[in-house]
């Protein structure tokens, strides 16, 4: 079934189409949610809320871009909303300065598995984590990130710089051996 037909069937409230849409995107989208949260349970909560919004707002999808990208934006926004609402994350979303680490020229990132890298990103403080995800992976500009998180674009830049430095230092220090220690959320 093509995407257009799938969307139309979902809009007609056909249960099998709704399930098919979920099956098609749920795995990748949980990967997105996973990077923004600290536990798999939280990630699944975000995924659930976001999919409800997807079905509720599907009539607003105008087929002017990929459906996956549209759903992904909803996932990201729902995740940010979750971080803001959840006290556990709110306390750590303070965007305070963290010590900068030196940056080496050699990148071990490419040697990491996706899951290992995602787990490292999840070890960042929530404020850093959100900015890093939005800039490095989602591709938003610092101005857009500022609007989304309610901070200035300057703050977004500095947060990203610190997050990037912190992440690289962890990768360097542990040299791929930290993966088991840093895994959190299970």
């Amino acid at each position: 079934m093509d995407v257009r037909q799938l969307v139309k069937d979902c809009l007609r409230q056909k249960p099998e189409a709704q399930k098919q849409l979920y099956d098609q995107y749920a795995k990748n989208m949980l990967g997105v949610c996973y990077r923004y949260t600290k536990s798999l349970k939280d990630a699944e909560d975000v995924l659930q809320d976001a999919f409800v919004k997807v079905y509720h707002n599907l009539h607003q999808y105008k087929f002017d871009g990929e459906l996956g990208a549209w759903i992904r934006r909803i996932m990201v926004n729902t995740a940010l909303n979750f971080l803001k609402k959840n006290k556990k994350y709110q306390q750590e979303m303070s965007f305070t300065d963290a010590p900068l680490h030196s940056v080496s020229d050699e990148s071990p990132v490419i040697k990491l598995q996706a899951k290992e890298l995602a787990d490292l990103i999840r070890q960042l403080p929530p404020g850093y984590q959100a900015v890093f995800n939005l800039f490095a992976i989602e591709g938003y500009s610092h101005i857009e990130i500022g609007e989304m998180l309610g901070i200035s674009d300057g703050t977004s830049r500095s947060q990203y710089a610190r997050a990037r430095a912190l992440l690289i230092s962890w990768i360097e220090k542990n040299n791929l051996e930290t993966e088991n220690i840093l895994y959190a959320g299970k």
């Binding site: 409230q13 249960p15 709704q18 399930k19 979920y22 749920a26 795995k27 990748n28 989208m29 949980l30 990967g31 996973y34 990077r35 798999l40 990630a43 699944e44 995924l47 659930q48 999919f51 409800v52 919004k53 079905y55 509720h56 707002n57 607003q60 105008k62 002017d64 934006r73 909803i74 990201v76 926004n77 729902t78 940010l80 909303n81 803001k84 609402k85 940056v103 080496s104 020229d105 050699e106 990148s107 990132v109 490419i110 990491l112 598995q113 996706a114 899951k115 890298l117 995602a118 800039f135 490095a136 992976i137 591709g139 609007e147 989304m148 998180l149 309610g150 990037r164 690289i168």
Partner: protein, 481 residues
């Protein structure tokens, strides 16, 4: 590492990264979306139930047969209790047999016929087509009674000495009355006529009782009086009609066209122009961003059903259900299809899927904020001018209105622009209205009105919270029975 090398590497690494969700997630998602569908259905269910309930209540209230029977039966009971003649008949019911024998006619047969007539009348259902017959039949009976009265009086005046003749005269009179009753029964009169006929039967019976009880005809005047009393039945009928009018519910339809807007108070209706509601300080937005658009009054209309009842000569009450459409308009820029997070009074993070930019040079569109309400209203109208050719009512009312849907836009300085979030609106609105009501003919009424919502428009709004207000013209059409 180079500036973009790290980002590229991270991006590539994360491409296609996914985690298999547990089965519970889909179960919860499915439950949520089905529940929402049920909620939407539930709203229409209750709305239809309300309409149905209103319809049934209206049908019960306006059922003419039930109403007339009840009213007339009640008034009849009262009259019977208070009527000395009927009381007398009850007390002296043992004399009836005597009277029948004394008349010298086949009075038993007549009495049986009378009973049959009454039974037949009771059994005949009310037929509206026979209404015209009712008046003529009643007037005929009345005329007959007048004649009888005249006859008896003449007889008395001439001092008829022969008692047999007198009795014969009375018997003839009864015979004539019986014929009238038969005539009435043939015409299958309506229930009001039935009670009249029954009363007349009782009156005649009473007269006959007295005729027979009178040892000589020197006291024949009392018979005359009784017959005159029988004639006076027309007076209670008139009273009954007036009571019926007071107890009668009429139903009607109304339609209004008005101007609606936001106002700060009762005395600034639609004059004030408000800035688009902003849940953050508009001044702290992007540098150089213009102020939010003004919100201006726009068109509104309503349509509904009502039932109306006079409670006294001067006062009418009415209740009804109606649909209201209110609107305001503002200037906006182009639509941006982008998902954003907004902080406002309802939530720390509201996701919006699109928003409108602020109006700018060459990029200005008119936008209509629409509000759809369903409401219940109660009004009381006081007749302030009651001239023969000109009547004027002052009508005041209260109403409960439920906001069903809206596309209202709010301003956000973080966009900067306008977005939708209906959770910021007060869904339950209480309002009062006042106006002057001018009857145009029997069934049509024209009203100028002013409506002010006591409940403010927005929730948790720090700035001066406006209220809905409307003023305009309303047409009411009453379906009188």
């Amino acid at each position: 590492m180079q500036e973009n090398e790290f980002e590229d590497a991270v991006g590539k690494n994360m491409e296609g990264f996914g985690v298999e969700p547990s089965a519970m997630v889909w179960t919860k998602v499915e439950r949520s979306i089905r529940k929402e569908k049920k909620r939407r259905f539930a709203f229409w269910y209750w709305f239809l139930l309300l309409l149905l309930g209103g319809g049934i209540a209206t049908a019960i209230l306006f059922n003419p047969a039930t109403n007339d029977k009840t009213t007339i039966a009640n008034s009849q009971i009262e009259k019977n209790t208070n009527n000395p003649i009927l009381t007398h008949v009850k007390k002296d019911s043992s004399n009836i047999g005597e009277i029948i024998i004394d008349t010298g006619k086949n009075s038993e047969e007549i009495l049986i016929q009378k009973e049959i007539v009454v039974d037949e009348i009771n059994a005949v259902p009310a037929k509206s087509s026979k209404i015209s017959n009712k008046n003529s039949s009643v007037s005929e009976l009345k005329n007959t009674l007048y004649k009888k009265t005249g006859t008896v009086k003449a007889t008395t005046t001439n001092k008829i000495k022969n008692q047999t003749e007198k009795k014969q005269l009375a018997a003839n009179t009864i015979g004539a009355s019986e014929q009238q009753f038969e005539s009435a029964s043939e015409r299958e009169t309506i229930p009001a006529e039935k009670s009249v006929s029954r009363n007349i039967v009782n009156q005649i019976d009473t007269a006959v009782v007295k005729v027979n009880k009178i040892p000589d005809w020197e006291n024949a005047d009392s018979v005359t009086n009784d017959l005159a009393l029988a004639d006076s039945f027309s007076k209670p009928i008139k009273k009954e009609t007036a009571n019926q009018k007071l107890n009668k519910w009429n139903w009607g339809v109304q339609f209004s066209a008005a101007k609606s807007g936001f106002s700060k108070g009762l005395f600034s209706l639609n004059k004030a122009v408000y800035a688009a509601p902003a849940y953050s300080n508009p001044g702290s937005g992007a540098s150089g961003a213009p102020n939010p658009s003004a919100i201006k009054p726009s068109f509104s209309w309503s349509a509904g059903l009502f039932i109306k009842k006079p409670v006294s000569k001067k006062l009418d009450i009415s209740i009804g259900i109606d649909y209201h459409y209110l609107s305001t308009h503002q200037r906006i820029g182009s639509l941006v299809d982008s998902i954003r997070m907004i902080n406002n009074a309802s939530s720390n993070g509201v996701q919006i899927n699109n928003f409108y930019r602020q109006a700018g040079s060459g990029n200005t569109n008119s936008y209509t904020n629409k509000f759809h309400f369903i409401g219940l209203q109660a009004n009381i109208a006081w007749e302030i001018i009651a001239a023969k050719k000109f009547k004027l009512y002052w009508e005041n009312g209260i109403a409960y209105n439920r906001l069903v849907s809206s596309n209202m836009l709010y301003y956000s300085n973080s966009l900067p622009g306008y977005y939708k979030d209906n959770s910021l609106l007060h869904k339950n609105q209480f309002s009062f209205s006042m106006g002057l009501l001018l009857p145009v003919g029997e069934k049509l009424m024209l009203k100028t009105f002013l409506n002010y919502n006591l409940t403010p428009v927005f929730k948790n709004y720090s700035a001066s919270n406006p209220h809905f207000s409307t003023f305009g013209l309303q047409l009411k059409y009453i379906f009188k029975k």
